[in-house]
Amino acid sequence: MPKVSLSHFEAALLFAFFTSIVFGVVSKTNDRDRLRYGLYCFAWFLAALFGLGWLMFLGHR
């Protein structure tokens, strides 16, 4: 098994990607809503990622 070394950002992005797929698939009742919900979750993951990143950056200044 190859070893990968990802940055915080890459790992969090990958986490958001896979998790959003599953959230989208299991949560809604038709394909259009599933796609929209998956994208919605992914967008919120990204918003939280950047929000918390900036919060930590400003908190350490």
Binding site: M1, S5, L6, A11, L14, F15, T19, V22, V26, D31
Partner: protein, 138 residues
């Protein structure tokens, strides 16, 4: 004021049991058995991908051992349950002798979280397979 809905009776276990069991054993397998091939493929891709990246980041697999305090014990047992819920991915990993010790570092830490989360996402897939098999969802 919200209306109270009568609790739906649980269908017999032979209706939903095989789908839920297969959903645990093989990520996406329950949906595949229920002929939801597209969703089965997406679940298999996402859960297996998450788990494989966890392994490639050399994540730690939790063991059900008592820790020095309650929180450590809770994490060990909770993490173990999360790992086991990944089904055949976890079983293969253990059978093939993967034993990454708990190591400091963000990448190892992310890896451990990826391995546990893959199992937790598989629980969601199992619940979804149950709802479809029981006729509560399309």
């Amino acid at each position: 004021m919200c209306a109270l809905r009568a609790k739906e009776p649980l269908p017999p276990a032979n209706v939903w049991g095989p789908a839920v069991a297969l959903a645990w054993l093989i990520p996406g397998g329950g949906h595949f058995l229920l002929k939801r091939y597209g969703r089965a493929g997406l679940l298999a891709f996402a859960i297996t991908g998450m788990y494989l990246f966890g392994l490639m980041m050399r994540g730690y697999l939790f063991h059900p051992v008592k820790g020095p305090d309650f929180l450590s014990t809770l994490m060990n047992y909770g993490g173990f349950v999360g790992n086991v819920c990944a089904g055949v991915l976890y079983l293969l990993t253990v059978w093939l002798g993967y034993s990454q010790p708990e190591a400091p570092g963000a990448v190892h830490d992310y890896g451990a979280k990826f391995l546990v989360t893959a199992g937790l996402l598989n629980i969601l897939a199992m619940v979804d397979a149950f709802e479809i098999a029981a006729g509560r969802k399309d």
